[in-house]
C-alpha cells in the first residue's frame, strides 16, 4: 500500500468506527446499568434508518435526523415502561427473550410500513460531494462522521463524569444493588438509560442513511457488530467502546486495503476472541459485580411424567406416518439441543451464545465422515458427538476462564469462527452451499423408522443429561455456579467442572446436529450460525431456565409455533414475537417455571 492509500484507508476506518461507536455506546450504557442484553438494539437502529429516509422526503435530511432520534427515544421509553420493567424480577436473561421477540415484531412492522424494497436515503445536503485528499476523492459526509464520533464521545463522557445523572449511572453500573440500597430510584434510572440508549440507536440509524440503504436485513447484522464493540471495549465502558470501534473499523479497512477482503467476514470475531483470551473483561472493562439474586435449585418438575410422554410419542406412528412424524423429529432434535444448552446454562450457570457451534460440528462431522470417508451412516452418527465434544474440549478450555456476558460473547466469537471456516472452505465443507446427500441407511430411511430412532436416541440422551444434573457432578457444577469461592474451598476444581460441562453439553448438541443432518439429507453453514444459537436460547428461556424439563417444552412450543405460524399467517415472524411477548409477560418464569410455582403454592 502506498502512503496515500494508507491515509485514505485510515480515514475510511475512522468513518466506519464513528458510526459503529454511536450504535455501540447506547448498547453499552443499557447493559452497564440494567444488565439487559438488548437484542433489539439493531432493530431500533433500523427503525431510525427507515424513519429518517421517510422523514427526509418530507422535512429534509437534517431536520429528519433529530426527529428520528426523538421518536426512537419515545419508543425506548415505551418499551422500558410497558415491557422490560415488568420482568426485571424474572430470572436473568428473560429480558433477552423479550428483546428477541421485539426484533421479530419490529422487522415485520418495518416490512408492513415501508414495503419490501430497500430504501436508499438522500445524500446529506451541503455534504454531498467529495474533497481531494492525497490524490483520492473522499466524501465530505465521511469527514463529518469522523468528527461526529468523538463529539458524541465527549458529550457522553461529560454526561457520565460531570453530572449527577452520570454519577448515578456509574454507581449503578458498578454495583446496582448498592446504589439501590443507598436510595437511588432505580426505576427512573433504568427508564432514563434505556430511553437514552434508544435515542442513540435512532441517531446512529438516521445518520447512516447517506451511506447505506434502509433494509430489512440490517438489524441482526448490526446488533452482532455492536455487541462485539461493546464487549471488546468492556461492557459499560464508553471509552472502551470508542477504542474498540476504532480498532475494528481500522482493521476492517486495512484488510480490504491490503486485499484480504474475505477475512472481513469474521474479522471482528477474531479480534473479540483474541482480546477476550488476553483480557477477560475487554480492553477497558472491569469485572462485573456478581448478581446476588439467588438461583433456584431444580425442584419438582414434570420430569417424572417423562416416561409417559416417551411412551405416548412411541405410539404416534400407529396413528399416522405422515407429516406429524417429520415435525416431531424436528421437535426431538431441538429438544436435545435445548436440553444440552440448558445443561451449561442452568446447572453450569454459563450462558452460551454460540451453542450452534457444537450442533454444527456434529452435523458436519457426521456428513463429512459419511460423504468423504464413506463410513456407514450408523458409524458417522455415532462419531458425530465425538467431533463436537472435541470442539468443546478446545473452546471450553478458553471459555471457562471467563464469566458472565464475556463468556457468552467468547462462545459467540468461537462459533462464528467455526461458521466462517465452514462457509469458506469450499473443497471440504462445500462452502456456503453446504453438503447434500446425507441420507440415513436403508433400514432407517422410512419416516417411522427414523422417527423412532430419533426418539430413542434423544430420550436416552436427555435422560442422561438430567441424570448428570442431579449427580455429584451436577451438584459440584451448581456449587461452582452459586459460590465459586466456597466451592474451591471445599475442594471442587471449579474450572475442571465447568470444562467438563462444556464437553458433555457439546457432545450431546453434536448428536442432535447429526440427527438433524440425516433427517434433512443436507446441511449448510446455517446449522452453525448465530440464529441457530439464538433459537436454542429462546427455547430454553421459553420453557424456563430454572427447571430441568422446561427446555423440552420450550423446544416443542417454539418449533410448533414456527411451523404453524409460518403456514397460517403472512406476518408470521411478528406472530411468533407477539406470542413470546405474551408468554414472557404472563409467565415470567417460563412455562415450566410458572407451573412449578403453582404447584409449590
Amino acid at each position: 500500500m502506498s502512503g496515500s492509500a494508507v491515509l485514505l484507508q485510515s480515514l475510511n476506518g475512522l468513518a466506519s468506527a464513528s458510526s459503529l461507536f454511536v450504535l455501540a455506546a447506547g448498547l453499552s450504557l443499557i447493559f452497564g446499568v440494567s444488565r439487559i442484553v438488548n437484542f433489539a438494539h439493531g432493530s431500533l437502529f433500523m427503525l431510525g434508518m427507515y424513519l429518517a429516509v421517510w422523514l427526509s422526503a418530507r422535512v429534509g435530511f437534517w431536520a429528519g435526523v433529530p426527529i428520528a432520534a426523538l421518536v426512537l427515544a419515545a419508543l425506548g421509553f415505551l418499551i422500558e415502561t410497558l415491557l422490560l420493567r415488568r420482568i426485571y424480577r424474572a430470572p436473568e436473561l428473560l429480558q433477552l427473550l423479550a428483546t428477541f421477540a421485539l426484533v421479530l415484531v419490529i422487522k415485520d412492522f418495518a416490512l408492513w410500513a415501508w414495503g419490501p424494497e430497500d430504501m436508499l436515503g438522500p445524500r446529506a445536503p451541503g455534504l454531498s460531494g467529495a474533497v481531494s485528499i492525497a490524490g483520492g476523492q473522499f466524501p465530505q459526509y465521511d469527514l463529518f462522521l469522523i468528527a461526529l464520533g468523538p463529539a458524541v464521545f465527549v458529550l457522553l463522557h461529560f454526561l457520565l463524569t460531570r453530572t449527577r445523572f452520570g454519577i448515578l449511572i456509574r454507581a449503578a453500573t458498578e454495583d446496582r444493588e448498592m446504589a439501590g440500597a443507598l436510595g437511588v430510584n432505580q426505576r427512573w434510572l433504568f427508564t432514563a438509560v434505556f430511553t437514552l440508549g434508544a435515542a442513540l440507536a435512532g441517531l446512529g440509524g438516521a445518520l447512516a442513511i447517506p451511506r447505506e440503504p434502509a433494509n430489512l436485513e440490517i438489524d441482526l447484522a448490526l446488533v452482532s457488530d455492536a455487541f462485539v464493540v461493546v464487549v471488546v471495549g468492556g461492557m459499560g465502558s464508553i471509552p472502551g467502546a470508542f477504542l474498540a470501534a476504532l480498532l475494528i473499523g481500522g482493521i476492517k479497512a486495512f484488510c480490504i486495503g491490503l486485499g484480504y477482503s474475505k477475512i472481513t467476514l469474521v474479522a471482528e470475531f477474531i479480534v473479540m476472541a483474541a482480546v477476550l483470551v488476553v483480557r477477560p473483561w475487554g480492553l477497558l472493562g472491569r469485572p462485573i459485580a456478581v448478581s446476588r439474586a439467588p438461583q433456584d435449585a431444580f425442584g419438582i418438575s414434570s420430569r417424572r411424567a417423562m416416561p409417559l410422554v416417551v411412551a405416548v410419542l412411541a405410539l404416534v406412528p400407529l396413528l399416522s406416518d405422515g407429516y406429524i412424524l417429520i415435525l416431531l423429529t424436528d421437535v426431538l432434535v431441538f429438544a436435545l439441543f435445548a436440553v444440552s444448552l440448558h445443561f451449561l446454562l442452568g446447572p453450569g450457570g454459563m450462558v452460551s451464545f454460540g451453542h450452534a457451534a457444537y450442533f454444527g460440528l456434529g452435523a458436519y462431522g457426521a456428513a463429512l465422515l459419511f460423504l468423504r470417508w464413506q463410513l456407514p451412516m450408523e458409524l458417522s452418527l455415532a462419531a458425530a458427538p465425538l467431533v463436537a465434544a472435541g470442539g468443546a474440549v478446545l473452546f471450553g478450555w478458553f471459555c471457562v476462564r471467563l464469566s458472565g456476558i464475556y463468556l457468552a460473547m467468547l462462545t459467540l466469537a468461537l462459533a462464528q469462527i467455526v461458521w466462517s471456516v465452514a462457509f469458506q472452505w469450499d473443497a471440504v465443507t462445500g462452502g456456503s452451499n453446504g453438503l447434500v446427500g446425507v441420507w440415513p441407511a436403508a433400514w432407517l430411511s422410512s419416516r417411522t423408522a427414523y422417527y423412532l430412532a430419533t426418539l430413542a436416541l434423544c430420550a436416552a440422551s436427555i435422560a442422561c443429561l438430567w441424570r448428570f444434573a442431579v449427580s455429584p457432578f451436577g451438584y459440584a457444577l451448581r456449587a461452582s455456579r452459586d459460590s465459586p469461592l466456597r466451592a474451591e474451598a471445599s475442594g471442587i476444581n471449579v474450572r475442571a467442572q465447568q470444562w467438563a460441562a462444556f464437553i458433555v453439553a457439546g457432545g450431546f448438541a453434536g448428536l442432535a446436529g447429526a440427527l438433524f443432518a440425516f433427517s434433512k439429507g443436507s446441511i449448510s453453514p446455517e446449522t452453525l450460525s448465530v440464529p441457530r444459537s439464538v433459537d436454542g436460547l429462546v427455547m430454553v428461556l421459553l420453557g424456563g431456565v430454572q427447571t430441568l424439563t422446561g427446555p423440552v417444552w420450550g423446544a416443542a412450543i417454539f418449533t410448533w409455533l414456527e411451523d404453524a405460524m409460518s403456514r397460517e399467517i403472512a406476518y408470521w415472524r411478528a406472530g411468533i414475537g407477539a406470542v413470546i411477548l405474551l408468554l414472557v409477560l404472563a409467565l415470567p418464569g417460563g412455562l415450566e417455571g410458572t407451573l412449578k410455582r403453582w404447584f409449590s403454592r
Binding site: 422487522k107 419490501p116 424494497e117 436508499l120 480490504i256 417429520i326 453446504g434
Partner: protein, 395 residues
C-alpha cells in the same frame, strides 16, 4: 327436454366435482420474509398465472391449485416445509426456493422422495450440473449463463486491466470464476488486477471502492446486488471510481435492484436485467397488460419468474396428460413453451430452461434508472459444450 336438462345438470355437477377434487396441486415454498423485494412480485406473478390457466379450463382438463409456504430461508426449515407439502398436502409438484443452498437442499430431497421439483429462482450452476438429478428442473438463467451473456460486450471493449468485486458466497464466487475463464478465452492477455470479496450484506463500501481505485483498473466486473450494490454505487459515484472505468454488473438491471438506485443510477454500466417498460413483443405486452390490470403495479423480474414457472407446470401437465411424477419428468424434458420473454425449451440434457435475460446499459431517465441499448440474450446460446455438461452431471 326436462330429462336432457337433468342429464346436463348431472354431467355438469360430476365434471365440476371432478374438477375440484382432481386439481393438480403445486406446492410452492420460498423465503418470502428474507427476500421480500423479489418474492412479493413473484407471488403475484404466480397467482396471475393460476387465474389465467384456470379461467381457460385448466391443464389437461384439471384445475391448478397453488399451495404456498414460507421456507424460513434456511435449508433445514425448507426441507421440513417441503416434506409437509409432500406428506400432508400431497402435492403433485414442488416449486420455488430462492437462495442456492435452500434450492440444493430441496432438490436433494426431491430426488430422495422422487417428486418433481421446479426450481424457479436459485441461480447456482450446481443445481443442474454437479448436483443435478432426474427430478429437478431449473427455470432461470444460471449464474454461468448470465455471466456468459455479459462476456461478448466485455471482450469487445478490449480493456486490459480488470478488477472484480463480488459477494463472498457461492453465487459471487462462481460468477467470478466463470467470468475470468470466459473472458480470458475471448480476450487472451487480459489481466485481473484486484479482487474484493465483501461479506454478503456487509460491504464496507468506502474501503472497497478505495482499494479498487488504487489498482487503477480499466474495467470492473461486479456481481453485487441489493443493499451491497446500492452502497457500492453511492460510494463509487462520490469517489469518482466510475469516471474512467467501465463496469459490468450481473443482475443490476432487474427492477428489484435498479429501482432503489433512483438518481444514483450510474450511466453506461453493462448489466443483465429486465427493462419491463420497453419490451414490446406481443407476448410480453400481453403479460405486462394483464399483470398491471390485475395488480395495479408494474411487473418485476420476480413476477416473470413466478408467472412462467406456473405456466411451465401447466404445460408439462398438458403434454403428459397426467400429473404423475414420472410422466411429468419425461414431459418436461425438451418441453417447448411460450413465455413473456419468448419461446423457451427445457433442455433434456441438464434440465435447464433456455429462458434468457436482457443485456443492456444503465441510464438515468427522469431521476430513475432504466436500461438502454438492450438486447435479449437467448439462454440457449450461452451454454458450455454438451461434453462439459455430461462430465459434470453424474447421472
Amino acid at each position: 327436454m326436462k330429462r336432457t336438462l337433468l342429464i346436463y345438470l348431472c354431467l355438469f355437477l360430476v365434471t365440476a366435482d371432478a374438477f375440484g377434487q382432481n386439481a393438480v396441486k403445486i406446492g410452492e415454498l420460498n423465503s418470502y420474509k428474507v427476500f421480500p423485494s423479489f418474492l412479493e412480485p413473484y407471488k403475484k406473478g404466480m397467482e396471475l398465472a393460476i387465474e389465467e390457466i384456470n379461467r381457460s379450463g385448466g391443464a389437461a382438463g384439471r384445475k391448478l391449485e397453488l399451495v404456498t409456504r414460507d421456507d424460513g430461508g434456511t435449508p433445514g426449515d425448507a426441507v421440513r416445509v417441503a416434506e409437509e407439502l409432500i406428506a400432508r398436502e400431497k402435492v403433485n409438484v414442488l416449486m420455488g426456493t430462492f437462495a442456492s443452498n435452500v434450492g440444493l437442499a430441496v432438490a436433494n430431497l426431491a430426488a430422495q422422495r422422487k417428486v418433481l421439483f421446479v426450481a424457479s429462482e436459485p441461480l447456482t450452476d450446481k443445481i443442474v450440473w454437479e448436483n443435478g438429478n432426474r427430478y429437478t428442473f431449473r427455470l432461470r438463467p444460471s449464474t454461468y449463463m448470465q455471466t456468459a451473456m455479459l462476456v461478448p460486450e466485455a471482450a469487445k471493449l478490449k480493456k486490459r486491466r480488470w478488477a472484480i468485486v463480488y459477494p463472498n458466497y457461492e453465487y459471487g464466487q462462481s460468477a467470478t470464476a466463470s467470468f475470468k475463464k470466459l473472458l480470458s478465452e475471448a480476450q487472451p492477455g487480459v489481466e485481473f488486477v484486484a479482487e474484493q470479496a465483501p461479506a454478503l450484506g456487509k460491504i464496507e463500501a468506502g474501503a472497497v471502492v478505495q482499494a479498487l481505485a488504487q489498482a487503477r483498473p480499466d474495467a470492473i466486473f461486479s456481481s453485487l446486488f441489493a443493499a451491497d450494490l446500492q452502497k457500492f454505487v453511492r460510494e463509487g459515484n462520490t469517489r469518482g471510481l466510475f469516471k474512467n472505468t467501465v463496469v459490468f454488473n450481473l443482475l443490476a438491471g432487474e427492477p428489484e435492484y435498479l429501482d432503489p438506485l433512483k438518481d444514483e443510477t450510474p450511466d453506461g454500466w453493462w448489466v443483465t436485467g429486465y427493462p419491463w417498460s420497453e419490451i414490446n413483443t406481443p407476448e410480453h405486452k400481453a403479460f405486462r397488460d394483464a399483470y398491471q390490470k390485475r395488480w395495479n403495479d408494474y411487473p418485476r423480474q420476480g413476477s416473470v419468474v413466478g408467472y412462467t414457472a406456473v405456466h411451465a407446470v401447466a404445460n408439462a401437465v398438458r403434454k403428459a396428460k397426467s400429473a404423475e411424477t414420472e410422466k411429468l419428468v419425461e414431459a418436461l424434458k425438451g418441453l417447448q413453451m411460450q413465455t413473456p420473454f419468448g419461446p423457451v425449451t427445457w433442455r433434456a440434457i441438464d434440465h435447464q430452461s433456455t429462458m434468457g435475460a436482457y443485456v443492456g446499459q444503465l441510464a438515468k431517465k427522469d431521476g430513475k434508472g432504466t436500461m438502454v441499448n438492450w438486447r435479449y440474450a437467448d439462454g440457449a446460446k450461452y451454454q458450455p459444450a454438451e461434453k462439459e455438461i455430461r462430465a459434470l452431471r453424474k447421472e
